[in-house]
């Protein structure tokens, strides 16, 4: 009944002259819809928006007993602490290098994988490879690092390969030079299949008639890939590239924390783990929040910059 009578109410002349009353009437009409959103809205306010306000502690000398609203303001003092701190600078450099390496190797890998998978003619084999490649994504980071440590142990697989090439036993987790390859490599292991899903979806979206037409024109497999498949994929590639560039600085610090050892800190000290150490372990909340905020600001500039560049050169953009 309510659904049917609603349009009549809205169109009556008395409402047009009283917009507030019309608003109230809609409010009452949609009370169920509005009520349904309230629990989730409360959650989002508490756990997403309140922390955004809480970032103010970066400009305070935060004190647990006085809270965000009564702690003394100190302006940019906490940021000076950050900029004058060599360990923080090292963390920033490492964060950037790790992000760039992950992008350089981790970004093309799923594209190549999706293209190769797409060429497979046996449907069953293809499905099998796909299912197996998604699996590592569901393995927890604790298990993954645990397995990695075992493979990198003196009697593990990696050293087995090293010995085979005549190289002496390597202490992978104690060597700062090996932290980055291990991090990036295990990242690819975990996300290769999962990240290829979007590309595979884009590949199935390419019009088959284009291939048929190309075949008539005498184009071989390679030419078809070059002139039909890649252009068909490029919008997806561009969007995901912008997103990845924007998240270069969002290191998976949980994994870094698990892979850290006192002897590889030179490369494994990243902003994320430093914030954890300063903020959670040492309870210096304001300093840690300032470091986190400084990184977020740089990350935000990166997203804007990547989007601007993409818009300018390729006419693809997020907004």
């Amino acid at each position: 009944m309510r659904g049917e009578s609603a349009p009549q109410l809205v169109s009556s002349t008395s409402l047009r002259s009283y917009p507030q009353r019309a608003f109230l009437r809609r409010l009452i009409q949609q009370k169920w819809l509005i009520g349904m959103t309230i629990p989730a809205v409360i959650f989002v306010v508490l756990f997403s928006y309140l922390p955004m306000v809480g970032i103010l502690v970066a400009f305070q000398n935060y004190n647990v007993f006085q809270g965000v609203f009564h702690s003394p303001w100190v302006g940019f003092q906490n940021f000076q602490y950050f900029f004058s701190n060599p360990i923080a600078w090292q963390g920033f450099r490492n964060t950037l290098v790790l992000g760039l390496l992950s992008l350089l190797f981790g970004f093309p890998a799923p594209i190549i994988f999706a293209l190769l998978l797409n060429e497979l003619t046996g449907k069953r084999f293809r499905k099998f490879v796909q299912s197996v490649s998604y699996l590592p994504y569901f393995i927890s980071v604790v298990i993954m690092v645990g397995i990695l440590k075992d493979l990198a142990a003196p009697q593990g697989l990696f050293n087995g390969i090293a010995h085979w090439f005549g190289v002496q036993t390597i202490q992978f987790f104690a060597d700062p030079g090996w932290f980055r390859p291990l991090f990036v490599g295990s990242g690819i292991w975990q996300t290769l299949g999962w990240s290829s899903i979007l590309y595979l979806a884009a590949l199935t979206g390419i019009d088959p008639e284009l291939y048929a037409a190309a075949k008539i024109d005498g184009a071989g497999r390679w030419k078809q890939t070059l002139h039909i498949t890649l252009p068909g994929l490029s919008p997806t590639i561009m969007i995901l590239l912008i997103l990845s560039i924007g998240s270069i600085l969002n290191t998976d610090y949980q994994k870094v924390l698990l892979m850290q050892s006192p002897s590889n800190l030179e490369t494994s000290n990243v902003i994320g783990t430093y914030v954890y150490q300063v903020g959670i372990q040492n309870a210096q909340f304001s300093e840690a929040a300032a470091i986190g905020l400084a990184l977020s600001v740089v990350a935000f500039i990166l997203v804007i910059g990547a989007n601007w560049a993409a818009k300018k050169w390729t006419e693809q953009s997020l907004w």
Partner: protein
């Protein structure tokens, strides 16, 4: 013509070879862990274990399965899943339904309100301080509540609900039902694939969650299985080991056995639900939503 040439056949040969290689790389670490957990000390130390266990032993499993802390952690994780997943599904369904309705007056503003959280967040420290000031530290709620509503999930649910014929809702109105009843009687029963997928994702998420318990729970009686596992893997769990090993045992036992047994026991439930999860996401449920 071009597709049956020599060059193409060579390419296909190498392509299949590469794919087999990928499959081996993806599966090897998991099979290796299983093999190690069942192998005896000497083959482990000599690095002879690869795909298959050598010199079968059950010491790792026996030790872990008789550790009361293991069972406590397992029970805690199951409890967090049992509390967290229903909250997650319920709240997400509740807010997604109005957002799927064209006439809803706050549709635009609420969408913006949610999408903002995809791009901005307070970061680790402010979130920690909020959880702390709400008095949630050292309670199961610290694990369950902060991640209960995700804007990404809401977008997927909303898209799914929009594809349910609106006539069903309209005829239910005629029968005198309100939107809450319509959601539970009509929409949710029609959304079982959606709820199953996101339910399984939520289970795996809580199951694998290690960092939140690390910072929010100091009480070992509350620690979940992921945190227990991290301690076994990281420190070789000295207490557990010294309790289980006596005298000459050091010649035949190895902490690796404990670590690998703990990994297998933690991984098992996730591997068990995996086929169900992956059946759904290959159907393109998620992809359609991501595109929009």
């Amino acid at each position: 013509m071009g597709s049956s040439g020599m060059g193409y056949r060579i390419f296909m040969f190498f392509n299949i070879l590469i794919m087999v290689f990928v499959v081996v790389i993806m599966l090897y670490p998991l099979l290796h862990v299983l093999a190690l957990s069942l192998s005896s000390n000497e083959p482990i130390l000599l690095g002879q274990v690869s795909f298959f266990p050598r010199g079968l032993q059950w010491f790792g499993y026996k030790t872990i399965l008789t550790d009361p802390q293991f069972w406590l952690a397992y029970r805690n994780t199951i409890m967090y899943v049992a509390i967290g997943v229903p909250i997650n599904l319920l709240l997400t369904s509740l807010i997604s339904y109005p957002l799927a309705m064209k006439e809803f007056m706050f549709r635009k503003s609420l969408t913006v309100f949610l999408v903002i959280t995809l791009f901005f967040n307070g970061g680790l420290i402010p979130t920690f301080l909020v959880v702390k000031s709400l008095g949630l530290l050292n309670t199961p709620w610290a694990i369950v509540l902060p991640t209960a509503v995700s804007a990404f999930n809401v977008v997927v649910y909303r898209t799914f609900f929009q594809n349910i014929p609106i006539e069903l809702r309209e005829s239910a109105f005629v029968d005198g039902a309100n939107d809450l009843v319509i959601l539970f009687r009509i929409y949710l029963p029609l959304s079982m694939p959606l709820l199953a997928t996101f339910g399984l994702f939520a289970i795996v998420g809580i199951w694998n969650d290690w960092f939140d318990p690390l910072i929010y729970l100091n009480n070992t009686n509350l620690q979940p299985i992921a945190l227990y596992l991290q301690q076994v893997v990281d420190q070789g769990n000295v207490n557990l080991l010294s309790g289980a090993l006596t005298g000459s045992d050091f010649l035949t036992k190895n902490p690796v056995m404990l670590e690998m047994a703990a990994i297998v026991l933690t991984m098992l439930p996730v591997l068990f639900v995996y086929p169900f999860v992956q059946r759904f996401f290959t159907k393109g449920l998620l992809i359609g939503a991501v595109k929009s």
